[in-house]
Amino acid sequence: MTAATQPTVRPAGLKAPVIRIGVVQWMRRNLFNGVFNSLLTVVVLLLLYKIVPPFVQWAFIDSFWTSTAEQCRAGGGACWSIIPANLRFIIFGFYPYELHWRPFLAMLLLVGLLLYSKNRNHWRRSLLWMWIVGLVVMGTLMKGGILGLTAVESDQWGGLPLTLMLSVFGMVGAYPLGILLALGRRSKLPAIRTISILYIELIRGVPLISMLFMSAVLFPLFLPEGVTFNKILRAQAAIILFTAAYIAEVVRGGLQAITRGQYEAAESLGLDYAQKMRLVILPQALKIVIPPTVGILISAFKDTSLVVIIALYDVLKTTKSALANPVWMGFSPEAYIFVGLIYFVCCYAMSNYSRRLEKELHS
């Protein structure tokens, strides 16, 4: 009360608080501002001291970068040499060695297209055409058989191109399918609604690994003799069907978040169902659900590594395969750190982009 009535009068005997800055003060305020926090700080510092110097010693100081496996075994540090020695197999799998430039170009093209599509100013009709042309070129590069390129069967595809292909096409295929399912689940037509609900709940009720397994092991048994579908295609279909069910539920959340007023406003303008959804509802709904959608896309990207179960050689499997060589056996931490970095770069790029997109769309 006194402070309120005499705000400007300083009580006698009290000095103005000293604003203390500097390292010591910062530490006192942020790291040691209580018994519990001080204790925590000490424990964390101790842990870091125990972990970081040995790791740096192992990973950088004692490490080998271009040696042979024997030299690695003699020394005690990290053997990064396993990466350059097996790099081309890890990245390209079974693709014929002399033709590695083709999947390399295809990957560059894909990454280039993705980077170009990042910028919203480029979202025009021409972008669609660029993607179509890009995909045809990529397919031609990978598959060959025309323009004097040697044909390479799809069962020889592997490594990073396979991972990227499964995840990019998985996402691209799953997203529209997921939106359709979400709309279907909220449809007023009982048949469509039931089918959508059945689909979503059935797919969400089984793990991806079992879907892949069915696509690889059970599905061929039901086909007529001699008819076999490409294994990659089967896995790709399983991934799309699986991811779509999850996207559908996320999109449905977005649709529910749109107030009734928006639906009614759209209807009162005389828009039909398709126009209403396309012009009014979906743009708002999809914007709301960007974070969870990206979450699903990231996990879908990482889930592609499950295709090892059906012996497709994605980038994780080629790494494992390189490790099965007795020459390089035992250097698994190095190899897995490398693959982990590849996955991290991709996932980080995705989440980073989603945050930017969110900011741009002011949601």
Binding site: F94, D155, G158, L218, P220, L221, G226, T228
Partner: protein, 338 residues
């Protein structure tokens, strides 16, 4: 994993109730223009891609021999890497024509699973790797030992049987992943590492000091590894069977990929029949007369593929042992080619 097992059992049941192939595989293969071979993919020395993505190994070369016999070209072949669960359904569903994936020939697989195994291309068996510091000369002295073993394999059951049978005690150390298992063993977590003998050699090769370890002479189980085809397709089975046998017979006759062209001029009637100089064998199998010549020319004899896949100059450094020719005290024996 449980789910996988259920799926696998389901798949096998479906396979058994469904398609029965009768003598069509050979026609199919000829129409396709290549042989589809199921291989391991992760087993060095048997089926695994090298640094350039080229398939290498004993099973892989067995597949190449079949392609060479059928098409005269060892490269008219597609390798399909398969997991242990997938391998038999892949064969049943027709996804592959022949399975060369270090599969052990057993009575159950030959009958209930509906497979036909051809000539064994590697006789394996379970053994023990120990540190020389233990000063153990044979497996009977391993009473009370801690044993490193992969879980869920016949290996685990075999070693338990063996110790019980010999009234010895053991303490199993079970680790899921082979590489980690080896690490644990070399770090001294257990006294003995048990696995198939061919695997033990590989494990020894990656030891920090390989000379500190030895493989005990005892082999406690029989693991005849053979290529498999679908049951009831006799012509195709004959072709697979004699493709393996041809490599053994070639070694027996002293024919290798290096001297095969000179051997065409040989006066030995057995060699003449084998290489198709005297016709007959090819027609009997439904192949052309040069089939065995091409196997030796493009792939090699059994000794050659053994040496380059798992032999002394490979990291596995395996001795021929049971896989030597019958003349040299092994089990590799081919019936006459006439």
């Amino acid at each position: 994993m449980k789910l996988l097992k259920v799926c696998a059992v389901l798949g096998i049941l479906v396979a058994l109730s469904g398609t029965a192939y009768a003598g069509q595989t050979f026609d199919n293969v000829k129409a396709k223009g290549f042989v589809q071979v199921g291989v391991n993919g992760d087993l060095f020395g048997f089926g695994k891609p090298d640094e350039k993505g080229v398939w290498r190994g004993l099973d892989v070369d067995t597949g190449r021999a079949i392609a060479a016999a059928v098409f005269g070209d060892a490269n008219k072949i597609k390798f399909i890497p398969l997991t242990a669960v997938q391998r038999f359904t892949a064969l049943q569903s027709g996804e592959i024509d022949v399975l060369c994936r270090n599969a052990t020939l057993t009575l159950g697989r030959e009958t209930e699973l509906g497979l036909d195994f051809a000539q064994v291309n590697y006789y394996d068996g379970q053994g023990f790797l120990v540190s020389k510091k233990l000063k153990v000369k044979n497996a009977k002295e391993l009473d009370g030992a801690t044993v490193c073993v992969l879980p869920g394999t016949t290996t685990e059951l075999n070693v338990a049987d063996y110790f019980r049978m010999n009234k010895m005690k053991m303490k199993p150390v079970v680790i899921e992943n082979a590489a980690e298992l080896y690490k644990a063993f070399f770090a001294g977590r257990c006294d003995v590492l048990t696995s198939d003998a061919s695997q033990l050699a590989g494990a020894r090769a990656v030891a920090p000091k390989p000379d500190d370890y030895m493989i005990l002479p005892d082999i406690i189980s029989k693991e005849p590894l053979a290529p498999a085809v679908r049951h009831g397709d006799n012509q195709w089975k004959d072709i697979v069977n004699f493709s393996v046998l041809a490599m053994i017979e070639a070694e027996d006759l002293g024919i290798s990929s290096r001297n095969v062209d000179e051997m065409l001029k040989s006066t030995n009637p057995a060699v003449q029949r084998f290489l198709g100089v005297t016709p007959g064998n090819g027609k009997a199998l439904g192949l052309d007369e040069k089939w065995a010549y091409r196997i030796v020319k493009h792939v090699g004899n059994y000794g050659e593929i053994f040496e380059r896949s798992v032999g002394r100059n490979t990291p596995l450094k395996l001795e021929r042992g049971l896989n030597a020719l019958w003349k040299n005290g092994g089990l590799m024996y081919s019936p006459p080619f006439r």
